[in-house]
Point group: C2
Chain length 484, copies 2
């Protein structure tokens, strides 16, 4: 009945040797997702993945609510007439929209690709005067995009799971302050809690969200040296409010158009960075604050001492009530098999309990990231609180170190090429991220196979020299990378 | 600047005089939902409604997890070939399905109307042996049904928000035990927490879920005397596992088909009963355990004492940290307007704080359901814990009393007609809920305009006489009512 190590389904490839294959294996073998749904770009998120994502949602929703956002539930569908109201929005999204079959006398309906055109008409209905402002709303939901490119689980799919916050203000200054608050949320949650560093980059004019005045995308770096866009925030300005005629009465009783913003952290995509940055050749390493099971207790027993050992395991569990603890008491698997399984799934701490530990009133504690084992007297179980904080700190430090090591200044196209081939993010003096800079960006795309991702959005950086491509005066410092 | 009472948008109709209009007004005026989406059967759930529903989800998810269910996230779409696998399922649901426009060379995709045909293929992939059983999963999600009848917000829509739990077992006995656990969850959560009583009724053969061996629907009663189906649970038996060839190896190494069940509590629909049963002519009355704001503090001040009163309000709030408390400090509205607004929204307790309360170190406490006001010394704020429990007990007792008062035994068709006209649930001796009883049920439908809803599912009731319609031996005691 007992399964042995051979049955276990560990990773057969190393992360730094073949990242792409490592990623494909880990998401399947750690039981995060199931791709066999028979539908391109649609996956199942399995319990281990769902529980992790639920914790991510909790952190984000708590922060949004602290920042005075309230939750709503919008319809999953959007009438065609809504989608068509803002002209650059409809151009940007129409090719990506799933349409429903409707009767010829009924309006066409789309699966929402994003929900500006659901929120703005509600602002119009719900906001009368400045007294109703600001109105800060969010929904946790899924959105749908008919991507025709190759899909990859969690990275690029046709359905993804996110939060979208949509806010309305009386003035541009307040809306811009919200954009900065959104950037801080990405830092406070994705970086400080989930240990995923990123750069908030104001996208070039040609790369902004369809319908936005400007877009800030936070780029994180994957182990293969490619950037992945994480939460983005958009100053919509008055574009959508004008398209939907959404006004408010100011203090003088005059009508003005609303100023709106949108912020979109995608849990399923942030999970990609968590998996990829923290995982190792043995499996996942999940930040302590997110792990569905934070501590697994594996009792090691024979028939003759099973009862006593199990009782001791329960005692230990009872002392760890502030954490998410599981006792793995499955008789069908031996301890070695269990060790492998929980390492693959990235549980931060394993407690081993056998005859020796029971006799000495101690535990053996295994740290998933460092793979260190130590003996801890029961009296010192309180240490685990501190250990858990250290655990997340180590993940963050390691991710930060990797990110910083990949940031480099480039002064020539040659340097830029080399940097890109080495999986780096290049910091480069550049003519302009307004439309006049597009030709230079196109040269970079064509000759270096890389993208101008934008300028730092939370800090002013001043160039001193010339554009790396056209040699004209550089007006900006931009960040360049290859990307997903 | 200050709005006065006239601006307030109270209910203009009494619940017991025109329930239908009362319902339409309350869901709009208490800002639970917004129906102006331009799409039939698709509504927005506004923050007050969403926050309430979120609490409902929390109670249900906690209970499901306690009962060893794990969360998953399934795709929103289903391939046509999945939907078609189980023949009675496809017949039951096909007319109600929203289809997507797909290219001619791609498989047709449907918006999920329910997810048996997503879960069962996963059971097939994920379950190998009896060691993997039971597998108990759930997802919180929305489902879509192309209802062609008149839609009513939250009651009957084309999109609704629910949990669906899908479980797989090795034996029929375990599956049937799960069905009973599901009935208990409805009792423990919907009745004990949300104060909504219901009867778990095993539906007649002709009224079961498309694809089930049998269905148990819990019927609650609306103030207008019509039944509304609340959570239902289904013994699927081996119907779906056979259709999808989903097997497991038993302890002897032999392959057997899985036994599956499904349970579907719909938050948006349970909210209908909460609104309707507990609400009154002033507005909503939300159970304390569900209220987004459990206690609202309304400070009553003039310019000269504003600062001191606000400080006192903060002190009171700090003493109530275990509850969800809000201070309504909006200068633009006067206290009377605020009182009306929070009564309309159903906040269980209001604390009024003015000069007198501050001087005497007391508060004025308003109980939303009884509309009693009392003065409470600050030292007795601890009482609120007990008051909150009493509050929910009162709602439950009142709802139970109403429900019981509407249950009546009927011995003749005449009595049955009268009972139906008085908005009652009739308890009736009946020939059979198997297919041979259908003609009698059809007579009841045609002549009494009422439905045979089924037999009690958690208690055996034995008839002694004859069928109320055909006069043959009664084999069952059934419950009959008009319904939504």
């Amino acid at each position: 009945m007992t399964k042995n190590k051979q049955d276990n389904k560990g990773l057969t490839v190393k992360k730094n040797e073949n990242f792409s294959e490592w990623y494909s294996q880990i998401i399947e073998k750690a039981e995060l997702v199931e791709i066999r749904t028979g539908m391109k770009g649609f996956i199942v998120i399995r319990p281990w993945g769902t529980q992790t994502i639920e914790k991510m949602y909790e952190f984000y929703e708590e922060e949004l609510q602290k920042n005075k956002h309230k939750p709503v539930i919008m319809p999953t569908l959007i009438p065609e007439s809504n989608l068509k109201k803002e002209s650059s929005h409809v151009q940007g999204f129409t090719p990506e929209v799933f349409w429903l079959k409707t009767k010829t006398d009924e309006e066409k309906l789309a699966l929402r690709p994003t929900s500006e055109t659901l929120f703005t008409p509600m602002f119009k209905l719900w906001i009368r005067s400045h007294r109703d402002l600001p109105m800060k709303l969010y929904q946790r939901c899924q959105v749908f995009r008919l991507d025709t490119k190759a899909t990859r689980p969690l990275i690029r799919g046709r359905e993804f799971h996110w939060i979208e916050a949509h806010d309305a203000f009386a003035t541009k200054a307040e809306a811009e302050a919200q954009v900065q608050e959104d950037i801080r949320m990405t830092e406070d949650i994705m970086h400080q809690k989930f240990c995923v560093p990123s750069l908030p980059l104001k996208r070039p004019e040609w790369d902004k969200f369809a319908g936005a005045e400007y877009t800030i995308g936070s780029d994180s770096l994957m182990p293969d040296g490619k950037l992945i866009q994480q939460p983005s925030t958009h100053l919509m300005g008055q574009k959508f409010s004008k398209a939907f005629d959404a006004k408010f009465k100011n203090e003088k009783g005059q009508e003005e158009y609303l100023w709106t913003t949108a912020y979109g952290p995608a849990m399923s995509r942030i999970l990609v960075s968590i998996i990829s940055l923290h995982g190792d050749d043995t499996g996942l390493v999940i930040p302590f604050c997110l792990a569905p099971t934070q501590i697994v207790i594996v009792p090691i027993y024979k028939k003759e001492n099973q009862e006593k050992i199990m009782k001791y395991a329960e005692e230990i569990k009872n002392k760890l009530k502030e954490f998410r603890v599981e006792i793995d008491d499955r008789d069908a698997y031996n301890p070695g098999w269990k060790f492998n399984e929980w390492e693959l799934k990235g549980v931060p701490f394993r407690i081993e309990i056998g005859e020796k530990e029971m006799k000495n009133k101690e535990i053996t504690l295994f740290h998933r990231d460092t793979k260190n084992k130590e003996t801890l007297p029961v009296g010192k179980l309180n240490n685990i609180k501190e250990y858990s904080e250290d655990f997340d700190k180590r993940l963050k430090n390691q991710a930060d170190k990797f990110f910083k090591s990949r940031l480099t200044n480039c002064k020539t196209k040659g340097e830029l090429k080399e940097a890109m081939n080495n999986g780096k993010i290049a910091r480069v003096e550049f003519c302009s991220t307004k439309s006049e800079g597009l030709p230079c960006a196109e040269i970079i795309e064509k000759e270096v196979n890389a993208d101008v991702r934008g300028t730092l959005a939370n800090k002013k950086e001043t160039p001193k020299g010339k554009c790396i491509i056209c040699n004209k005066k550089a007006n900006e410092i931009v960040y360049i990378g290859r990307s997903y």
